[in-house]
């Protein structure tokens, strides 16, 4: 089931005017910021479908930048997000794309700081609910509603077992898990949705395992 909580239906509390084009956009921006884990120097935002056609009217542009500034859907600073981004010296670029996407409300966010970059594709599926469907070229499905751990690792046997052993040791239950890779034996991504926030010490422990490249998290 796509929707699991009543608060996806009655909620979120948000700055208008559109749950999909404003609140959903803010959430996509915020997940990108959370995964990037620091303030970017530059943000490139690509709008597709209905987003591309109507983003100015819905405040999709200010909302997604608000998310990149780490604002929640109900944070009234969203309405001034473009000005605040300028003050914080984040270089913002919007791109209207013609390409057809599977979902009408699709946005790609690329955040950059120096050499570090993150590229994420999100869709806004209605009522403010979103899914992240691509991260740095990996296909995935991430709601952003639950705490999650993202593990970039080398595609080798035993890596998944190693990660789940560490989580089991700390009594952390896995609610949903996905693994994807671009090519056999190369880099792969594990997305693990868990029931509670995971402390940084556990992320460090995961990172110290063999064949782990990088571990990040999304908190509640």
């Amino acid at each position: 089931m796509k929707y699991r909580t009543v608060f996806d239906i009655i909620g979120p509390i948000m700055i208008g005017p559109s749950s999909s084009h404003t609140a959903g956009a803010a959430r996509i921006g915020r997940v990108a910021r959370t995964l990037f884990a620091e303030k970017p120097d530059r943000a490139d935002i690509y709008f597709y479908g209905s987003f591309a056609k109507t983003y100015r009217g819905h405040g999709t542009d200010v909302a997604i930048v608000g998310g990149i500034l780490d604002f929640d859907t109900f944070d009234s600073r969203i309405t001034n997000a473009l000005t605040i981004a300028k003050e914080e010296k984040i270089d913002i670029h919007f791109h209207e794309e013609e390409a057809l996407t599977d979902h009408p409300n699709t946005a790609k966010v690329v955040l950059t700081k120096g050499e570090v970059t993150i590229e994420l594709v999100g869709i806004s599926i209605g009522g403010g609910k979103i899914e992240i469907i691509e991260l740095n070229g990996f296909k995935l499905k991430l709601s952003g509603n639950h705490p999650a751990i993202l593990v970039v690792h080398n595609d080798r046997y035993g890596v998944i077992a190693g990660v789940s052993n560490v989580l089991a040791k700390h009594e952390i239950n896995i609610g949903h898990m996905e693994v994807s890779r671009k090519e056999k034996g190369k880099e792969a991504l594990m997305v693990i949705e868990v029931d509670q926030n995971v402390p940084n010490t556990i992320l460090k422990e995961l990172e110290s395992l063999p064949n782990i490249v990088k571990v990040t998290k999304i908190h509640d």
Binding site: R4, T5, I10, G16, S20, S50, T54, G126, G127, G128
Partner: protein, 295 residues
Amino acid sequence: MFRNVAELVELAESQDIPISEVMIRQEVEVSGKSREVVMNQMRENLKVMRAAVERGISENVRSVSGLTGGDAVKLQEYIKKGNFLSSDVLLDAVSKAVATNEVNAAMGTICATPTAGAAGVVPGVLFGLEAKLNPTEDEMIGYLFASGAFGFVVANNASISGAAGGCQAEVGSATGMAAAALVELAGGTPSQSAEAMAIALKNMLGLVCDPVAGLVEVPCVKRNAMGASNAVVAADMALAGITSRIPCDEVIDAMYKIGQTMPEALRETAQGGLAATPTGRELEAKIFGVSLDKK
């Protein structure tokens, strides 16, 4: 977890509990939060809804585009004059739906029910009927859980996105949700709630999403107004014992299939319907300096 309206009604009637209670119990189970936390989260939503309604009926809110604002105040003044055709309760619900959407269009704070564009119907009906039914705060929270339960079914079996399913998926869903929840608030049975939802949603089928200039303003605000009135009348019909020949789940399924076959121009792209009328295009050009169809 209930997967459809039939299961929802069965869960309520077999345990002799209201729809809202089924939703509350499921939420507690799925989220792992305590009942108190879940109730308080909805209480916060109720507070935001009340604040938006009060702002909309007292201030002359205006959207940035200037397309909408001030109509909720106009209706309140009209009700006070006492010379109306329908009823004060109905018009109060309508004006409070309008109030919420005007605040939303002005980038104010609202609670999506189930979406921001359709955020007026559910609170409009609730606060419009508040003086007549005199519910406790917990009963008002119950109304929100009941409407959420029906919205939950629609969201999982069809869609609540205008871009995916047209306005029927947004204001249509909200109207069905409000009708069903109002039946419970007024003391009707879970089955009557389902009938009210079916009757209300049937009359929203096929409604397209064609916002002028792509803004959640024209015709969204007035569609919320009519959604609220539709919801109240559908609730009255169900309470009178009238049933829908087509069961609620099949109406929801029909709505989904209609949405899938709806042309993209009529699904929140500002390419068809009212958005593509001469006046719609003119307003768009005035707001953005250029018409969207020229791009």
